[in-house]
């Protein structure tokens, strides 16, 4: 096995384990911490794909900003396993059945799907200079439109958050 394969396997194992931790842990704060760990391993995968810019932005935006706000809310609400409302039994059965059905459909759909392997050549698109050039030469309009979208989301948040005078 090459070094890359070993790193890939270790990273994948950690990301799967921590992703399971998100849904299996009883304590919401532990869930959030597991999610942060998952984001880190995914950032590791981006680095393996030679997309360093994406990896760092992923950490800054998700682990550094969004999850802090998550943690904020959860800590202030002080959710605990014992105050969590007890779910009804039939809800659990319904969940299990619909989840199982989804699994069957996915297996059926993916059984015959052909998955051509990607060309393993090294791409340089993930490096920041190339990415910036591509974004601002070929995709200027979509890029600017998405920034307007973000701006409108911000304005919306401010409007909602503003106190009624």
């Amino acid at each position: 096995m090459s070094t890359q394969q070993i790193i890939f396997l270790v990273l994948s194992a950690i990301s799967l384990a921590s992703a399971m931790g998100v849904i299996l842990s009883k304590n919401p704060v532990t869930s959030v911490l597991c999610l942060i760990l998952t984001f880190f391993t995914i950032a590791g995968h981006y680095v393996m794909l030679n997309a360093q810019f994406l990896a760092v932005v992923h950490i800054i935006v998700y682990a550094g900003a969004i999850m802090v706000l998550f943690l904020f809310v959860i800590m202030l609400m002080n959710l605990n396993a014992d105050v969590e409302p007890q779910k009804r039994n039939w809800l659990k059965y319904a969940g299990a059945i619909s989840g199982g059905t989804l699994l069957v459909i996915m297996v059926a759909a993916l059984r015959d799907a052909s998955m051509p392997s990607l060309q393993g050549g090294a791409t340089e698109i993930g490096l920041i200079a190339n990415l910036g050039k591509t974004l601002f030469h070929e995709y200027v309009v979509p890029f600017e439109v998405s920034s307007v979208l973000f701006l409108s989301a911000m304005v919306g948040a401010v409007v909602i958050g503003k106190k009624e005078d």
Partner: protein, 343 residues
Amino acid sequence: MVIDWVFIVEKLALISGVLALSLGVAMYSTWGERKVAAIIQDRRGPNRAGFMGLLQPLADGGKLFFKEEIIPTNSHRFLFILGPSVAMLVACMTSAVIPWGDVLTIAGRQIPLQVADINIGILYIFGVVSLGVYGIMLGGWASNNKFSLLASVRAASQIISYELALGLSLIALLMFTGSLSLKDIVEQQRHGLWNIVYQPLGFIIFLVCAFAECNRTPFDLPEAENELNGGYHLEYSSMKLGFYLFAEYINMFISSALMASLYFGGYSFPGMDSLGLAPNLVTILGFVALFIKILLFLFFFMWVRWTIPRFRYDQLMRLGWNIMIPLALVNMLITGAIILARQ
């Protein structure tokens, strides 16, 4: 595949060296802080342990190690221990991308005095800084104490608010330098003027935000002892408390190194290339120059702490959102306009 063992040994030595340096500087910053406070308040400061009290940090460290470890009964045990560990880990992580010096040539091998020269150096720093809040938040929440929680919420909102202005001031800098690699930025300053000449406003914004990110006076609201009984580390004792205090000093050291590298030429000094000395000697002199700059910044941190009183919380938030961020945006616009005009 051939593994370059010498490379690994070299990097390991460099990492250990940088780590030992950060810890050593952090340790003696506590001594420096007390001495500076003493001079400003017309006292003597620590002067019993060793010559001029130089052994005082060792005595303090020993005391912290031998204190009783207390984990409150109703705390979340795992997170309570994780908090200071994360604070310490994150504090040490930034040092990886800082260029501590130019290239050393030993036995024909070129050894750059930088752990990793990645082409996203500044973004890496920004990412690590944004993680710094976790140690405080986890510790404050896991203590299961209202005062700790309040302090950690304060700390988190403060750090998030000032991160924005910090990022914007960095954007103006990298618009100007055109590179995200710290090594490139330092090399540019070596052959030209220091960035402080081109980005004076950006530097002031960065400086203020660095104070806020390190939770230093006048922004040390997370540990406002007169309203919060001590702050987010209220329930901590022994070396876990020591880690929190230590992390603050390491953060100060790293921010000083960053400010020196980004705005004050890093390891370069005027007349560096016209000395006519051996390259290795010049590299070592460069490291000494960087260190002197760092020490001056550390002194500045302490000087401010013992001169300026603490802000009120609403003043802190107003300064961050209503003054720092607009200023940083204006700085960005001016930088952009100048770059455009010069093209």
